[in-house]
Subunit: 385 residues, 2 copies
Amino acid sequence: MVIGVGMTKFGELWNKSLRDLIVEAGLKAIADAGVTSNEIDALYGGCMSAGQFISQEHVAALIADFAGLATKKIPAIRVEAACASGAVALRQAYLAVVSGAHDIVVAGGVEKMTDVDESIATQALATASDQEWEALLGLTFPALYALIARRHMHEYGTTREHLARVAVKNHKNACLNTNAQYRSEITIEQVLKAPYVAEPLTVLDCSPISDGAAALVLCSLEKAKSLKLDTTVKILASAQASDTLALHSRSSLTTFEATVAAARQAYKQARIEPKDVDVAEVHDCFTIAEILAVEDLGFAEKGKGGKALEEGIFDLSGELPINTSGGLKACGNPLGATGIAQAVEIVNQLRGRAEKRQVKDAEIGLTHNVGGSGATCVVHIFGRC
Amino acid sequence: MVIGVGMTKFGELWNKSLRDLIVEAGLKAIADAGVTSNEIDALYGGCMSAGQFISQEHVAALIADFAGLATKKIPAIRVEAACASGAVALRQAYLAVVSGAHDIVVAGGVEKMTDVDESIATQALATASDQEWEALLGLTFPALYALIARRHMHEYGTTREHLARVAVKNHKNACLNTNAQYRSEITIEQVLKAPYVAEPLTVLDCSPISDGAAALVLCSLEKAKSLKLDTTVKILASAQASDTLALHSRSSLTTFEATVAAARQAYKQARIEPKDVDVAEVHDCFTIAEILAVEDLGFAEKGKGGKALEEGIFDLSGELPINTSGGLKACGNPLGATGIAQAVEIVNQLRGRAEKRQVKDAEIGLTHNVGGSGATCVVHIFGRC
C-alpha cells in the first residue's frame, strides 16, 4: 500500500546535490504519509550511476545518513537497473513488505546528471547497453533507439509524424505539471525540423538529461489499519522481466519481450486486462519507446501505436491518458528517479490530486519503466481503495 | 535454504571478464544444487562498481543474458552497498523467497577490478566513502582504517603485532583453500616490516585488489521438500543495518554500531548467542577490521579482540575458527563477490566439504560483511539441517 508520495522539481538543478534532492523528496513523502522518520523500517534507493556522475557509490547508506535515519540503523539498499532502477527499487521495497520483514518502507530514486558535461553523461548512459558489443562500437542510446524506430517504420508504416506526436502530447501535459522540466508546448513541425541526434530521431524525440528525486512510502496492509488515512492506494501488481542486453541477440527489434512478459504477469497478479487501466505512465525515453510501450502493454495492436496516438486515444482527454506528467520526454528523466516519479504521478491521479491534469474517476493506474533498450522492464499496477 | 554454492578462483585473472567470472560461478552453483537453469525464478547480483571499473552498468540483466536466462525473462536485480554488495544481494534474494514471489533464486556477486590501474582502483574504492566529506579531501580507505586502528591502539592498548596476527592467521588458512588469491604463509615480522600504506597499516595489513565471483542457489522450504537433497543448510537469520558514511559523524571510531545492530537482530532471529557460533567469516578488509568485527559480534570483549587472537581462539584449531577461507586478506576481496564468497565458505563448512580447513562438527556458521568504513553491515547466520 502506498501511503505517501513526494518529489522534487526535475531539471537542471545547479544549486542542489544528490543528497539534497533525495532528502527533499523523501521528507515530502514522509510528511505526506503522516508518519515520522522514526517509524521507517527500511530504505530502498534506485540510482543508476552516481559512481560515474558524481564519484559516489554506497548511495543508499548515504541517503539514510543525510535523511537522519542512520541513528535508527535501518537497512538501506541501493538498486541499479539502468533507467529502470527506480521501479526495481520499488519492487524490492514491495517484496520486503510482503515478506513480513518490514512494515513501513521508503522507496526512493535519485540521479544527479548535470555535474558532468553532456559528452560524459552520454558515455555514462551508454554503460546501460552491452559494453563489449554495443557501447565500445559507438552505439549510444539515441543510436540504439534510432535502429528500433527505423525498423518499426519499415515493418508497420509508422511515420516520423507519429513519433513527433508523442513529444507534442507529452510537452502539452507537462505544461500542467509544476515539477516538469519542460513546460512549453511544441509543434510537430518543430520536432521534425529540430537537429538530428540519430536519424530519424531529432533532439525533440529524446528525453533530456535531468537532476531530480522522487520517493514513496509503502506500508503493510496490517500496519495501515492502525494509521488514519484519508485515501489509500494499493499495489495490485509488481512484475519485472529481463531480456538480452544487446539488441542483436533478439528475434525482434520492434517488441520489447521483457515488457510483454512483465505486463502479462502484472495483469494476471492484478486480475485485470489492459482495457481496465484508466491512466498510465510509460517509458518514453525516446518517442519511439512510447509507441513500443503502448503496443507491448496491450493498449494498441502491434504496429498500430502511432495510429492510436493520432486518434487522440492517449491524450489527456482521451480514452486512456498516457504520460499525464509529461513523461520522461517533458517531465524529465533523472534515471534512478524516473520509475518512482511515474508511481508518484499515478498515485496522485488515483487520489484525485493531479491538479489540472487530473483524469476523471481514475481507479486503476499502471507504470512501465524500462532499463536500457529493453533488457529490464518493470510493470506496476495500482488501485484506489 | 541454500541448496547450491559455487565460486571462481579469486585473484588477478587477466584472461577472464566480468561476465566470464559470474557465469562460471553461477553455473557451478546451479550444478551443485542439482537444478536446471530453467528452474531459476530470479537472479540477484551484488556488484559495487562495474561502472567505474569496466564502464558497465545494468549488470544483473547482463548476467541473466550471458547465463542464458534471458530466454526465460526472469527478473534480474543488481544491488550495491560498496564492499557489502554481496551480502545485501543475498538478503534481498532471501526476502524475495520469504515473500513467496519466487521459489528458486540465484544470489551472486562479482567484481572485475584489475582492468584499471591501481590508482584508479583506489579512487573507485574511495567512492564508497562520503565523497564530499572524505574522498575529496584525500581520505582513501587505508587512511580511514588507519585512523580507526590508531584510535583502537590508543583506547585499548592494541598493538601492531595484534594487527599483524590477523594477516598471519588468514594467510595460513588461505594455504588450504585452492580458490584463494594468496596461498603463502607470512610472518609477523614480514607484516611489520612491509611498506606502510597508511601508518600503522602496512601493505600486508590490507586486503588485495581482486577479480572473482561467487554464487548461491536459494530455495523456499516448501520447494526444497520436492528436491532430493543430501545435505541442506538453512538461513537462520538475515539482518542489515546502516550508519553514517563519514567517520567524523560517529560517537566512536572503535565500534561499528551497524555491526552491533545487525548482530543483535541476527542473534534474535536465529535464537542463538555468540557462543553458539562454530565458525565465522568476518570482514577483514584491513587487519584492524577483523579485530573490530570479533568484538562487535560478541566473540571477544570490546578492546580484547587482539588479545583473544593472540590466545589462538580464532585459529583453525581454536575455539571459534574465523576466516577459514583466508578472509578478504588472503582469499581476496573482489568487492561485490566477497559477501557471497563468505557464505559459500560457511555453507561448505556446515556441509563438511571444506577440505583440509574443515572445522569439526560445525553446525552453526556466521557471515559478517561490511560496506565502506562500516556504513553498511550485514550479518547472516546459517544452520545445518
